[in-house]
């Protein structure tokens, strides 16, 4: 278990979040909260609304009902650029890097929402390269030409460049070899130890529980089970449905 902070201040509060795409309602009233410096996992099978939930948090997709507050301040109806500036950064599913741009340009895009002096920007690049030395070696390489694991590092690094208070990571392990997933988990822990709270959406339940202190299980747009990772690991329903035990 990483960075025990169950008693920390509340950072994100989501109440009764509902909505979807056009006429298809995907989420039916999600309640969820994240404390400062915590890693929270969202698990569940395909198509239960995990990514939709993240898209609503980052303001890309409008929601129909419910409230979202970050650090006690409502971020409802805010456009994505506002949400990023408030401190939520989203690492999308499938990395979605700017393939024909260099690694460094991708990182600079990550800092787009923050207008700052060149010196500060350079310092932030150094900090992120410190986390991911492999990206420093490849900073002028085109992002699309890197391996899947390196692309995922670049996507996380790009997310960090926004200096988030809360980092949303959608499918960290998707399509990656177990050894790489292990390495990426190390980075996620390191980032968390610097004080960044993380919501991790993950289909690989064991990876998710290993990283997160608490987890929510999504089923057809609702939270059916939630608790600490240990509680969920011991839960017979979770064991049967997600761990095949």
């Amino acid at each position: 278990m990483t960075h025990e902070s169950l008693g920390g201040e509340s950072l994100l509060e989501v109440r009764g979040l509902a909505g979807g795409y056009d006429v298809v309602q995907v989420l039916w009233g999600i309640d969820l909260n994240v404390r400062e410096g915590e890693i929270v996992a969202i698990v569940g099978s395909n198509g239960v609304g995990k990514s939709t939930f993240l898209r609503m948090l980052s303001g890309v997709l409008p929601h129909q009902a419910g409230t979202i507050t970050l650090g006690g301040e409502s971020i409802e109806g805010m456009a994505p650029e506002g949400v990023v500036a408030k401190g939520i950064s989203h690492v999308p599913e499938g990395r979605r890097l700017f393939a024909a741009m260099s690694v460094e340009e991708n990182l600079l895009m990550g800092a787009y929402a923050r207008k700052m002096a060149d010196q500060e920007l350079a310092a932030d690049l150094e900090r992120v390269y410190g986390f991911f030395p492999r990206l420093a070696e490849r900073k002028s390489q085109l992002a699309g030409s890197m391996s899947g694991g390196e692309q995922q590092m670049c996507a996380i690094a790009r997310g960090l460049m926004a200096r988030p208070r809360l980092l949303l990571i959608d499918e960290l392990s998707l399509g990656l070899a177990p050894r790489l997933v292990e390495e990426l988990c190390g980075f996620v822990r390191q980032i968390n130890e610097e004080g960044v709270a993380i919501i991790l959406v993950e289909q690989d339940v064991l990876t998710a529980f290993e990283l997160a202190s608490r987890a929510y299980v999504f089923e057809t747009g609702r939270v059916t089970i939630s608790g600490t990772s240990d509680e969920l690991l011991a839960n017979p329903q979770v064991k049967k449905a997600y761990l095949g035990m």
């Binding site: 890309v60 999308p92 393939a99 990550g110 787009y112 929402a113």
Partner: protein, 288 residues
């Protein structure tokens, strides 16, 4: 000697063609809008230069910034106020909207400016530089040089500024750019404004070496279309290559096939390229 002269003329023409097409390519590549207004902005830019010369005696090359800035503002407003409302709709919608605007503006231009062909005739219009038995027209060389300089500035802007990066990011992955905090509506308006400014600048240049009328916009629009398709969409080097190829093809075509077919050659090239490499000679997949 004739060939060398035609080669020089072709390159000079190709440079201005590239300059004409570059804004069209940018707008199409970034927003997937077939911008029928492109020729219209070009024509208006030409008139800015013409009237400033005619009424106030301003040298045509000095009125370039005025032409660029006014059309940038006009383009920004058109995109923010109108095109952004339908930009998510199928491409057909943007075609109809910009076509309607084009008709409106061109009719207004005919009403106010009359349909006469106009050309800016500064005192140095007839100068030419003799070089090893060839004659290099001064105005065309200046247009060429300025066209290349302005296109290079645009190239640099796209590659090295925060806004330029955001425009490229938006072209590559709209959703992802939005997650980075890019205000898409604003970036679209800026892109369209840059497209209009580039068109207007080339219009100002064209009004010196060539002639313009309110209806010449269609001619320049079709040239832009051909150049972008030949060279490949969405990149500035594609517009440069397409412009040079069209310039060469037109001039040498006129030599061998007669000047009557000069304008048809571009369309033949267009069809050939569409058969052989639909993404354009320097085009990348996904930007067809």
């Amino acid at each position: 000697m004739v060939y060398a002269q035609i080669l020089i003329n072709s390159i000079l023409l190709g440079g201005i063609y590239a300059c004409i097409a570059v804004g069209f390519s940018l707008v199409w590549g970034v927003m997937n809008i077939l911008n029928i207004m492109h020729g219209t902005f070009l024509m208006l830019g030409g008139y800015v230069t013409f009237w400033m010369f005619k009424l106030y005696g301003v040298d045509p090359f000095l009125s370039l910034p005025v032409s660029a800035v006014t059309m940038f503002c006009a383009g920004y407003v058109v995109q923010r106020g109108l095109i952004n409302k339908i930009v998510r709709a199928p491409m057909f919608m943007s075609l109809i909207l910009t076509f309607g605007l084009q008709l409106l503006v061109v009719r207004l231009a005919i009403y106010f400016f009359t349909g006469d062909f106009r050309s800016v005739q500064p005192s140095y219009a007839g100068f030419s530089i003799p070089l090893m038995g060839l004659s290099i027209p001064f105005v065309r060389v200046s247009i060429f040089v300025l066209g290349v300089v302005l296109t290079s500035i645009l190239f640099w802007f796209m590659g090295h500024t925060r806004t330029g990066r955001a425009i490229r990011a938006t072209r590559m992955d709209l959703d992802s750019a939005q997650l980075m905090g890019v205000d898409i509506g604003r970036i679209y308006a800026i892109t369209y404004g840059i497209g209009a400014a580039a068109a207007a600048t080339s219009g100002s240049l064209v009004s010196v070496g060539f002639a313009i009328s309110p209806v010449s916009d269609v001619e320049f629009l079709s040239k832009s279309f051909i150049i972008c398709t030949i060279g490949g969409l969405g990149n500035i080097t594609g517009a440069l290559a397409g412009g040079l190829i069209l310039g060469l093809a037109e001039n040498f075509g006129a030599l061998y096939l007669g000047p009557g077919l000069q304008n048809a050659i571009g369309y033949v090239l267009l069809i050939l390229v569409l058969f052989i490499k639909p993404s354009g000679l320097l085009g990348r997949k996904g930007f067809e």
